[in-house]
Amino acid sequence: MAYQITAGGELYRFADLKTLMAKATPPRSGDYLAGVAAASAAENIAAKMCLADVPLKTFLSEALIPYEEDEVTRLIIDGHDAQAFAPVSHMTVGSFREWLLSPAANAVTLAALAPGLTPEMVAATSKLMRNQDLILAARKCRIVTRFRNTIGLEGTMAVRLQPNHPSDDRMGIAASIVDGLLYGCGDAVIGINPASDSVPVLTGLVEMLAEIIARYEIPTQSCVLTHVTTSIAMAEKGVPVDLVFQSIAGTEKTNASFGISLATLREGYEAGLALKRGTVGDNVMYFETGQGSALSADAHHGVDQQTCEARAYAVARAFKPLLVNTVVGFIGPEYLYDGKQIIRAGLEDHFCGKLLGVPMGCDICYTNHAEADQDDMDTLLTLLGAAGVNFIMGIPGADDVMLGYQSTSFHDQLYVREVLGLKRAPEFRDWLNRMQVTDDTGHLLPQTAGQSLLRIAS
C-alpha cells in the first residue's frame, strides 16, 4: 500500500510502509549507503508527518519483510499478544508517542504492554521522538533479570568487566580483571572476547573465570563470547559455561550469515538452562546487536537499519536473556558516521529494546575511523545513565587492546555513578563492601598490597 501526505503545498508519496519508515529515519550513513534514506531534509520530515498518522494496527497486517520469507517476521507475528496490545490498539504512531510520554505510561502499564508491541511499532515511534523523548520513555521501563545477581532495578546500573587480551594470555586477562574488580566493576558479567576460536583455549578461559568467581564468591556470572555452537559443545562436555553468547540480528538472512537460526538459539538456550548454574535466576543468554549488521550482510530487504535493529530485540526476547548489548559504534562510519549519529542510535536502540521488554545495555563506543571521540562517549554515557540503561562496558582506560576500539572505562562508570547516583546490583554491592573495595556508600576505598583480590593475578 502506498502512503502520501501534503506538506508545505508539496505532495510526498511513499511506495510502501518500509519506504515510509526508512525515509522518516533521522539521517545516518548506513541508510544512504543502502539507498533507502530520504532524498531531502524536507522529505525526511514529511515522512515523519505521514508516519505519525499510521495506525499501530497496520504493522500487524503489513509486514516489512514477508512472513513467508523470514523466520524473524514469523516470530514477531506468531508471538504477538493481542490482549496485551488492546489498550493501545486504537492509537496511531503519533498518538502512541504521546501516550508513552504521558503519566498513563509507567513501569506497570509498560511491562503489561510489551508482549503486545512489535519491533516495527516501536521503531516507527522512535523515529518521531526527540532524544529527550527517547530518554524519558525508556526511563519508565523496568526490565529486571537474574542469574547470580539482580540487574536492572530502579536506580542501578551494572557494568560488564571486559578484560580482553590480544593473545588470550591468562595473566594479561587476570591483570585486567583485578583492575576492574578493584574499580567496582563486573556485576553485569565478566565477559571475554577471545582472540582464539580453538575449543581448548576457550575451555581454559571459561574454567579460569569459573574458578575466580567460585574462589572469591563473587555474585556475578562469566561469559566467553564465542559462537553459540561452540558454547553448546562446551556445555555438553560439562565445561562450566554461565552465559551463552551470540551476536544476533533482525533478519533471517543476516542471522544465517552469523551461522545461526532461531533453532540454533533455542538449542543454546536449552544448553545454558540445563547447566543450572544460576543461583538467583535463570536468565542464561547474552546477546549483542548493532545497527548496520543487516546491510553489512546484504540482508536488509530494503528496510532501514534502525528498524532491522529493533527486530533483533524480538529475537532476543524470545530467549529471556540476562543481557542484551547494542554495540553501537563498533561497526564504523559507513553505518553511523559521527558522534551525533552514534548518540542518536544508542538512544533509539535502548528505547526500542526497553519497550519490547529486553534488558538493554549499551557498548558506548567508536572506532578510530569514525568522526567521534571520548567527548561524544561522555555525552552518550550521561544520556543513557539518565535513561536508565541496564548496563555498560568497563574496559581498562577505555582502550580495548584486543578489538582495537574505544568504549567506556572503569573510570567512566565511576563518573556516571557520581553524577547520577546510580548504584550497583545489590548482591555485588554487598560483596564489594565485604571485600573492602568500597565503603558503605559505594565509593572506592584506597587499596593496599594486602587486598586479597590482587592474588587473582599472581
Partner: protein, 258 residues
C-alpha cells in the same frame, strides 16, 4: 609544596602497577575521585590523535613502489572508485571496485597467468603499509621460490578494500590473491597489517571464502612468523583448491621467537 607532594595528595594511586607487565591494557591508571589523572587524559588523547592520523595520512605509493622494485618485483599503481578518503570511509562498495580504466591497464600488462597475485592496499592505515608491506613480502619471496610458485605483477591500490583484490586477481589471471591491507588502527596498534588469502578470485565472493591473518606488526604477530603462516595456508589452498571456512590452520604454532 613540591609538584610531587601535590600530586600524591590528590591522586589515589593503584598499588598494582606491577601487573602492567602482563598486558598492554591501561590498568592501574590511578584516579582523582572518580576521574582520570591529567597525565592519563592527555596520554589517551595523544594515542587517539595518532590513530586518527594513521587513518588519514596520505598513502605514499611511490615509496612503496620503490621498495617493491628493489625486491625485483614489477608493480603498477591503481585506484578504487572511491575518489577521496571521505568517500572511501562512507562508501565501502566503491572501495571494492577498480576504476574501469585501471582494469584495462592491468589487462594491458599482458602478463603470464601466475600462481599468486600480491595486492597491497592502504586500507585504514597507510602507516601499516609503510612499516610492514615490503619487509613482509621480502620474507615471503624465498618461501614462494622454494616451491617454485610464480608471483604476478603487484597492484598497489589507493583507497582499496579487501574485495578489490578479486577483480585484480581476475585481470592478472592469478590462481590465488594475497591481499595485504592496513587494518583499522587501535590506540596501541596503528601499524597493524592484515593478510587475506582468496583462492580462485572472482567478483561476488564473501569473507567466508577467505582466510585472514591479522595483527601483523613488530609488536604483534611478528613478520617472519606471519610469513610462515601465510605460506603454509597458500600451499594448502593451492593443493586443496580452496580458501575460507573449510581451510583451517592446522600447523603447530610455528617458528621459534628470535
Amino acid at each position: 609544596m613540591t609538584e610531587d607532594t601535590k600530586s600524591a595528595d590528590i591522586v589515589t594511586l593503584d598499588p598494582w602497577e606491577a601487573l602492567r607487565r602482563h598486558t598492554d591494557a591501561s590498568i592501574a591508571l590511578g584516579r582523582v575521585g572518580a576521574s582520570l589523572p591529567t597525565s592519563q587524559v592527555l596520554r589517551f588523547s595523544y594515542a587517539h590523535a595518532t590513530a586518527r592520523d594513521a587513518v588519514h595520512i596520505p598513502f605514499d605509493k611511490e615509496a612503496l613502489r620503490a621498495g617493491l622494485s628493489d625486491l625485483g618485483l614489477m608493480n603498477i599503481p591503481v585506484s578504487s572508485q572511491a575518489e577521496s578518503r571521505q568517500t572511501y570511509l562512507s562508501r565501502p562498495d566503491l572501495g571494492r571496485r577498480l576504476k574501469p580504466e585501471d582494469v584495462d591497464r592491468l589487462k594491458a600488462l599482458g602478463s603470464e597467468p601466475c600462481d599468486i597475485a600480491i595486492v597491497v592496499a592502504d586500507g585504514l592505515s597507510s602507516t601499516a603499509i609503510a612499516a610492514n608491506a615490503v619487509p613482509f613480502i621480502a620474507d615471503l619471496l624465498p618461501l614462494f621460490a622454494s616451491e617454485g610458485l610464480s608471483v604476478g605483477p603487484i597492484a598497489v591500490v589507493e583507497n582499496g578494500r579487501v574485495a578489490i583484490g578479486d577483480e585484480i586477481g581476475v585481470a592478472l589471471q592469478a590462481r590465488l590473491v594475497l591481499m595485504l591491507i592496513g587494518e583499522r588502527p587501535g590506540l596501541s596498534s596503528v601499524d597493524s597489517l592484515g593478510a587475506y588469502l582468496t583462492y580462485g578470485p572472482r567478483p561476488g565472493l564473501s569473507d567466508a571464502d577467505r582466510n585472514c591473518i591479522s595483527n601483523i606488526r613488530d609488536a604483534g604477530l611478528k613478520l617472519p612468523l606471519a610469513a610462515a603462516k601465510a605460506f603454509w595456508l597458500i600451499r594448502e589452498a593451492l593443493k586443496r583448491r580452496l580458501t575460507g571456512v573449510d581451510l583451517k590452520e592446522e600447523q603447530q604454532a610455528a617458528l621459534p621467537e628470535s
